[in-house]
Amino acid sequence: MSGAVTMQQALALAGLAVVLALASTLVSLLAKRVPATLRLAATPLLGLAGLAALAAGLIALALGGTVQTTLPLGLPWLPWHVRLDALAGFFLLLIGVVTCAVGLYAPAYVRGFEHGHDSLTALGGFSGLFLTGMLMVVLADDAFLFMVAWELMSLSSYFLVAYHHEHSANRRAAFLYLLMAHVGGLMILLGYGVLAAFGTGFSFSELRAAELPPIWAGVAFALAFMGFGMKAGLVPLHAWLPEAHPVAPSHISALMSGVMLKVAVYGFIRFVFDLIGQFPWQWGVVVLIIGCLSALFGVLAALLQTDLKRLLAYSSVENLGIIFIGLGLSLVFLSTGYRSLGALAFVAALYHCLNHALFKGLLFLGAGAILHSTHERDLDQMGGLLRRKPWTGLFFLVGVLSISALPPFNGFVSEWLTFQAALQAWQLQSGVLRSLIPIASAVLALTGALVAVTFVKVYGVAFLGQARSRHVRRARPGPWGMQAGQGFLALLCLLLGVFPTWVIGLIDAVPRAILGGGLPQAGAYGWLWLTPVSPQTASYSGPLIVLMLAGIGLTVFWGLNYLWSRGAPVRWIRRGDAWDCGFAPPSPRMQYTATAFAQPIRRVFGLLFQIDETMTRQEDGTLRHRLHIGDRFWGLLYLPIARAVESAARRVVLLQSGSVRVYLGWTLATLVGLLWIIT
């Protein structure tokens, strides 16, 4: 960045982003009259807002300063405080990137809704408010504004989840989502309340200054962890996520999974790392364990899904788990005094935030593209889409490789960093931690491998092989706008994998601002070499890897196809039927389905889920296979609460017995009772 730009301008840009988001809300009020407004004005404005946020974030990260101001809104004695620092900048950047892609993608996508009878105004308006909420959460500098923005985010996204509200399942999902969001919000509010009770007020600067006794600090941490964890979909508070994310329109799912969950991460970081400030290592262990649980459970659940968007939602649980593993490591290192290692884990977590935003956004947009052209979410109906939607197929492949943490894509870098952080556990004093962290890294490794399985399944079943249903066979390449949106994200996935040094150079501003120390080593040997700790310890060179992969690959290809076979009888490829060991020509029905693909894993890890699998013989003699995969946590956590409330309500309503004499009796009893009490 040139010295000319200042933090003020960054803040102004952020403000511009908010204004643009609100503007997109306003213009979509016209969509009732002119449906095209949504396509032509509202969604592009959203994209522009994203662009502005992106720019603001970049500047803030590059300058690494902080700037704050207050707005003439809010409580008389607590105006809205707004602050832009490196942390906020990073998440602005994150929000901005995905929103840009959505801005490219959505115009073509929402066109499909213009003929439906769902209100376009609602879609556009609440999308704008949703973005506004997320931006304001990141910018907020006092608990009140934070809560307002937070709940605005929840509420508007709830309306978007309930957008297709004919299906009772969607309504149920929306209800569950709003309920849990509300509970989570209340917990966060309570957490801030605890801080404020020991501080002087609700602005973050005052909360930072608060001196908490350990007990209450623990309470605040627990509340915040539960509240933000509920939003981030950490196990066991994840139940809403796989319900709610899939049913929203796909570009909104991309925003929810890609961005909103990160906003929850932001909240957690702001609350724990920034506001509370110092912490015992036990917190780190708790976060680490929950992160591991979420990662493992999320990926296994994803692996067993056949509904594409649901699968992606579960995989979000898994990725948030990985992020929280990073944060947990960072907490452990920081609390034991290893600042630079803490910073390393912290950066790894942030990097993964960014990566997940990119590839999960990409994958949801891809799923949307499939939905758009086939109206199909069930993997077992898909197949052969790569030849029907080549560009979507290509970009989706990039997403798959990135999320499976394969070099040279971005997912790999963040996982690599996390491993590097975990491998420094030998430096710790406490043997418990030294033996705990390796286990965490084992879980991380297992998770990574299972993710690969999951997405090989997805890609292989959806895009390869032959179409399993008629409407999928008729799929067409989508409009260019949708492909541009995906292409943008796919490109970024590659770039962030190839040039990690630059990215870390940017992110580094955050730990420097929050933790007071960054990773000076990371880019010490130039942009070509990533050496987070020291070159002897570990080094990775994305550019060279790509160079060599491409170089060798092309050389071999050229060599075999042109050099080698020069003058040989056959140079070209002959097309023929599939051999398939000489069995009858394979029909699409003979392919492995997603269910079949996951069957071995289901056998190995089945205990973790409520699986009921039935094989019934129809009267026409055909076998019918039913498989239902339930989430054990329902029975363990959610149903009991619901039942308790129900029975309590049943008992309580007996108050309203209908007999006026009984009512009078109550009055008399109350009166006598009170008189008794007071004397």
Partner: protein
């Protein structure tokens, strides 16, 4: 960093990489030969594997109608990725740039990349067996990869580095030390190697009985040069694991300077070690029988357990505090 990036270093790196693809068939041939001998057969000549490759490369490639471009791209990607992974493992000499470019985690990543494309290629044509093979391969990979990572992490934590060449350096420097953790790690790594390179008891490279095969099932639709590349990369993989075990756990003899003598010694040493390992593998494959697919997880869980024990015994017994 600078000590890696020297011109001779680059030259040697290229040479060593080429050596990998050159030696890979030889190892396979050697294993087959030993096996045949153990089974009282004369067996195919030692260089049969080269002949097979040559034959396949000369044949025309047949591709199913239903195959997508990915099907044709996959062999090259798999081959390249495996080769690159191999290139990062010091074969003759340490301190090569390749080791700096990609550390041991990247190595695992590259192998995973290869596996993913292998599996995708298997599912591409849309036959029943392809999907089956892919599913099984991914299951085994999913269980083997963490085990492998844990095993190498034991080394990495001992050497405080994930850079293979500095790991080996470290061992050469502090000489022969008997570490309980290495015992476990070695065991785990061997099991993983067996599983990953598709040998008995997990998979049978020579079977063509559809329902039992894993690796072969994904290659059913391949022919000609594509098949050649796939086979070749499988052989490279085997060599890679062999070298890894040989040079990391028994680093002695590997060259530490770029002098001709060091290189010669290194070559001799590694050949000897690999020959021994190949023999061991052959013996193992002769005495063991292939196990059912659903016993494979138990096998790999054992591997994971061993590696994890290695890691724990390292942090508990060896670092101490």
């Amino acid at each position: 960093m600078d000590n890696y990036l020297t011109l001779p270093g680059w030259v040697l790196a290229v040479f060593q990489s080429c050596l990998y693809i050159a030696l890979a068939p030889l190892l396979v041939g050697w294993v087959r030969k030993v096996k045949a001998r153990l089974q009282n057969r004369r067996g195919a000549p030692l260089f049969q594997a080269y002949r097979d490759l040559y034959k396949l490369l000369a044949k025309e490639a047949r591709v199913a109608h239903t195959a997508s471009p990915l099907f044709r791209a996959a062999p090259y990607i798999v081959f390249t990725a495996t080769w690159m992974a191999a290139a990062t493992v010091p074969l003759l000499v340490v301190d090569l740039p390749t080791a700096a470019i990609a550390d041991i985690i990247v190595l695992v990543g590259l192998l995973a990349l290869a596996r993913v494309f292998l599996a995708l290629a298997g599912m591409d044509v849309g036959t029943a067996f392809g999907g089956m093979g892919a599913s099984r391969e991914m299951l085994i990979g999913a269980l083997a990869e963490p085990a492998m990572l844990m095993a190498v992490f034991t080394l990495a934590m001992t050497a405080h580095s994930t850079n293979l060449s500095s790991v080996i350096d470290y061992h050469l420097v502090d000489g022969f030390v008997l570490r309980p953790s290495y015992l476990f790690a070695l065991g785990g790594l061997i099991l993983v190697a067996v599983a990953e390179s598709g040998r008995i008891p997990i998979d049978n490279p020579t079977t063509h009985l559809e329902l039992t095969m894993i690796h072969e099932a994904m290659l059913l639709e391949y022919s000609g040069r594509h098949l050649a590349l796939m086979e070749w990369s499988a052989q490279i993989k085997l060599l890679l694991y062999g070298t890894l075990i040989a040079n990391v756990f028994f680093p002695w003899g590997i060259g530490r300077g770029f002098g001709a003598a060091a290189l010669g010694l290194g070559l001799a040493a590694v050949l000897a070690k690999l020959a021994a390992l190949g023999a061991v593998l052959a013996v193992g494959e002769t005495v063991l029988a292939k196990m059912r697919l659903f016993r494979a997880p138990e096998f790999l869980n054992l591997a994971l357990l061993l590696s994890l024990l290695g890691l724990l015994s390292h942090v508990i017994l060896e670092v101490g505090a």
